[in-house]
């Protein structure tokens, strides 16, 4: 199993451009999450999904959109990129809640710079 994969690994965007960050998991997990991590900081939840066709906002959703058409994929869309969106973005997945704790598996991250 590859686990959680993210593409691209690095990207530089100009202000106002748009892009999609890709996230795929091969563990058949129904829960998927997008976080951003600013330098020296913890993780902030952007959006999450508990299954195909279901998405919900996290702590910092403004400026982002998501979709979940399949169990495996959970892309994050940035519209009209702004310097404040410069960050490292992590995708994570977890299985259903019959396990103790919502144990999450993370991808390697996408480092995004908006200039």
């Amino acid at each position: 199993n590859a686990g959680v994969t993210q593409t691209p690994k690095f990207r530089i965007l100009k202000i106002g451009q748009s892009m999609t960050l890709q996230c795929t998991q091969d563990m058949n997990h129904n829960y998927m999450y997008w976080y951003r991590q600013d330098p020296g900081m913890g993780l902030k939840l952007i959006y999450y999904s508990v299954g195909a066709g279901i998405t919900d906002k996290g702590e910092v959703p403004n400026g982002y959109n998501v979709s979940r058409s399949t169990t495996e994929d959970f892309p994050l869309r940035l519209e009209l990129a702004a310097p404040s969106q410069t960050s490292v973005y992590f995708c994570a997945s977890s299985s259903s809640r019959d396990r103790p704790g919502n144990e999450q598996y993370f991808g390697p991250g996408t480092r995004l710079t908006v200039t």
Binding site: G40, G42, L43, L45, Y48, P100, G101, N102, Q104, F106
Partner: protein
Amino acid sequence: TQLLEQSPQFLSIQEGENLTVYCNSSSVFSSLQWYRQEPGEGPVLLVTVVTGGEVKKLKRLTFQFGDARKDSSLHITAAQPGDTGLYLCAGDTYNTDKLIFGTGTRLQVFP
């Protein structure tokens, strides 16, 4: 808003020293997890504690969940340079599908 405060925020020690990282909240959690994140990588789960008062050991790392399920600690014995990284605690609540992540503790262990 539920918060998980970690202390200390930064820790820089010599190889062989012991250390403790704390994770505190005013909220009750159904379980609590600890993750370690190395530079340029995503967080990796170390342990999940579920029962109040529970103690789990992972080699030189000892994790404890508070009796009231509001706090946790991570103790490292005889730290090694390979322990260097960002340590994150994360609490799972009873009624949501989200984790509450702590503010993080950045550990640097020098040879």
